[in-house]
């Protein structure tokens, strides 16, 4: 029995958590999100290299959040998701026990959100090399080539909203895309509507995205949709020096400003 199972079992037994959100064996050698509500389920939790999914979105999911206190098995991206959710008041100190598994495989039990911040202070977040490569490739293209690339991707989008559902920060009860007075974004999954949806999503994540790439992972038609918020996160890091999901009291980049902010295009 690994440390994660022991801790989960203890938290459930003492009643410190009603449910432990973690990973379990999935279909055919994959892993899936798993929920331990009792000793038996706690024994089935796993943690290994395959556990890259960001589970933070389960924290506010309607079927789970009433069970708070929760415990959650966390990798770095889950940690950042939780911190960002705390920044936006979606979770409070004491709502959640975070079981962070560090690079050495040690389980660090964070009961207070500040303890997560301490864990994150050790980490310099970096985007995946393959994402960086694709972003660089796109940056090197002409605008026309980029347009062709993205339009061909947008044509494939079926507006299933897996990207939104998988995102740790898309917690709105009513998403902007669901607003129909006015109907900002068409319901139909046509190309321009899809484009508007993905631009809106990326904009709404700007300054907030924790760069987990979960939206791209979730896409059933393999659109690299995570590149949009990640590209913005990188740019925001470069321009404003802010990184989301590292500290609770972080500046909200798009809802704050400095009078001497730079730009080079406003005439």
């Amino acid at each position: 029995m690994g440390a994660i199972n022991e801790i989960a079992a203890r938290l459930l037994e003492t009643g410190e958590a009603k449910v432990v959100i973690g990973y379990g064996e999935g279909s055919f050698g994959s892993v899936r999100p798993a929920f331990a509500r009792n000793q038996e389920e706690a024994e089935k939790l796993i943690y290994d290299k395959r556990c890259t999914q960001n589970l933070a979105m389960y924290v506010y999911k309607k079927e789970i959040s009433p069970l708070r206190k929760l415990a959650i098995v966390a990798n770095v991206s889950t940690l950042r998701g939780i911190i960002r959710l705390a920044s936006e008041n979606q979770i409070k100190n004491g709502d959640i026990i975070t079981l962070y598994i560090n690079e050495l495989g040690e389980v660090i039990e964070c009961k207070a959100l500040s303890e997560i911040e301490i864990c994150l202070a050790e980490i310099t977040p970096e985007i995946k090399p393959e994402d960086k490569e694709l972003i660089d490739k796109l940056d090197a293209m002409t605008p026309q080539e980029r347009w062709n690339f993205w339009i061909s991707e947008m044509e494939s989008c079926i507006k299933c909203y897996a990207c939104r559902q998988a995102c740790p920060l898309c917690y709105c009860t009513q998403c902007a895309v669901e607003v129909n007075q006015p109907q900002w974004i068409p319901v139909a999954a046509n190309t321009s509507g899809n484009l508007e949806w993905h631009i809106t999503r990326a904009m709404h994540l700007s300054g907030r995205c924790v760069e987990c790439g979960q939206c791209g992972e979730a896409c059933p038609v393999n659109i690299p949709i995570h590149l949009l918020p990640i590209k913005l996160a990188e740019e925001i890091k470069n321009i404003y020096g802010t990184v989301s999901g590292m500290k609770i009291q972080e500046s909200n980049t798009l809802s704050t400003f400095k009078p001497d902010d730079k730009e080079n295009f406003i005439g």
Binding site: L138, D139, M141, P143, Q144, E145, R146, W147, N148, F149, W150, I151, M154, A176, W184, I185, P186, A188, N190, T191, S192, L195, E196, I199, T200, A202, M203, S206, G207, L227, L228, K231, L232, E235, I236, I239, Y240, T253, L254, S255, F257, K258, P259, D261, E263, F265, I266, G267
Partner: protein, 146 residues
């Protein structure tokens, strides 16, 4: 053909600086291209980026966004927030290959009637040169043509 093209350009402007500046252009009888039509907002901070998308998906060939110069905002900081919003939005549009040359961001104060005329004329002639925004029209019209 080039000369026949009359672009559709929407200007999103704030009430206190650019709208007033455009009023001054009128009072000063400075002529400019009729291709640009103004929609009035209280502040650049009010201008939702989604409106720019709606403009393009409804056939605009170009867009102007204009408000008070930094430090001159009637509401003290709406334009500062807008500035960050446009920095990010423009980065995103460029990354997606949307033609950012079709969006003019500018500050025009209530005193800059002549500047408004110049902004309009420069934008109009630039968009005329770029031609109709066919690429965007193609994706918005697909649903109407089939």
């Amino acid at each position: 053909m080039e000369n026949d093209f009359e672009p559709k350009i929407v200007a999103f402007v704030c009430n206190w600086c650019t709208y007033a500046g455009a009023d001054l252009t009128g009072t000063s009888r400075i002529k400019y291209s009729p291709n640009v039509k103004i929609i009035r907002f209280p502040c650049t901070g009010r201008i939702d980026f989604m409106l720019l998308l709606k403009a393009f998906s409804n056939g605009a060939d170009g867009v102007i966004v204009s408000g008070c110069h930094p430090n001159d905002c009637h509401y003290t900081s709406g334009n500062f927030h807008a500035r960050r919003r446009w920095v990010v939005f423009r980065t995103l549009l460029d990354f997606m290959g949307i033609d950012i040359n079709r969006i003019t961001f500018t500050w025009v104060s209530a005193a800059e009637g002549a500047k408004w005329a110049e902004v309009v004329n420069t934008t109009a002639s630039k968009i005329k040169e770029l031609g109709p925004y066919e690429a965007y029209r193609k994706i918005t019209n697909e649903i109407w043509e089939s």
